[in-house]
């Protein structure tokens, strides 16, 4: 009797261990690269929809990195018409909900006039325009996303 119970425990233990291992395995860490702004092509929307779907299905987004014209996703001064989607606000809302790391490339941002408070001060500009939930940093953050993520998916033109 004791042997039977013991065996049953071992089998149950293995089943639980396997299912935990398997469920952990199927959830991945994604890095997202966005190379295009909101108004030239569809890629910013594709990146947003992909990121949202990944989060809703239990995956982790290690970082979303905005590069080239992609930095235009992160200005809070853009005012699209009311019947148009506001991709910047969508990113900010997603960031708030899931505590996403939204990183804007500094060199690409400076060329295009995207500044946070520190950069505005450092460059002697009279204001900043970065959207809530975004931060400005360097290309190393993209490299790190490549190293730390299970998959990196690029969106662009």
């Amino acid at each position: 009797m004791i042997v039977v119970i013991g065996l049953a425990c071992v089998v149950l233990g293995l089943v639980i261990y396997y299912s935990l291992w398997h469920s952990g395995k199927s959830k991945l860490k994604f890095g997202i690269l966005v190379n295009e702004g909101p108004y030239q092509h569809q890629s910013a929307d594709s990146a947003y929809q992909f990121t949202k779907a990944a989060l809703e299905n239990g995956h982790e987004i290690f970082r979303v990195f905005f590069y080239h014209d992609g930095v235009n996703n992160g200005t809070r001064y853009a005012i699209p018409p009311q019947d148009d989607r506001n991709i910047t606000e969508l990113w900010s809302a997603l960031q708030e909900k899931y505590k996403l790391d939204l990183v804007i490339c500094i060199a690409a941002a400076q060329r295009r006039g995207i500044l946070d408070e520190n950069e505005a001060k450092r460059q002697g500009k009279d204001g900043d325009n970065i959207a809530p939930g975004f931060r400005i940093s360097g290309l190393g953050q993209l490299i790190e996303a490549g190293i730390e993520s299970d998959r990196v998916v690029s969106f662009g033109d």
Binding site: Q42, S46, Q49, N57, V153, S154
Partner: protein, 102 residues
Amino acid sequence: MAILHIVNKSPFERNSLESALAYAKKGSGILLIEDAVYAASGKTKFADAVKACVGDVKVYVLDPDYQARGLGEVAVVDGVEAVDYKGFVDLVAQFETTQSWL
């Protein structure tokens, strides 16, 4: 290595689909998104090239983008599988790596 090739431009605009079809090895996948979904429609001159590829390579089309272009009534090329954004995420997880043909 099983790669998911992600193509996002219409074959009428660029040759990225042609390149992806040529480079894709047996067992890999091609996902058509954005304007590349036109290639999934059975009614363009690219239908035969896509059809010839199906089998060795699995071809998928992002259905929200297909529908958004008014192609909902047009049957896709035989063997092409329609996926939603969740399916897109699942494919990226399923293949070892992805290549966006930007």
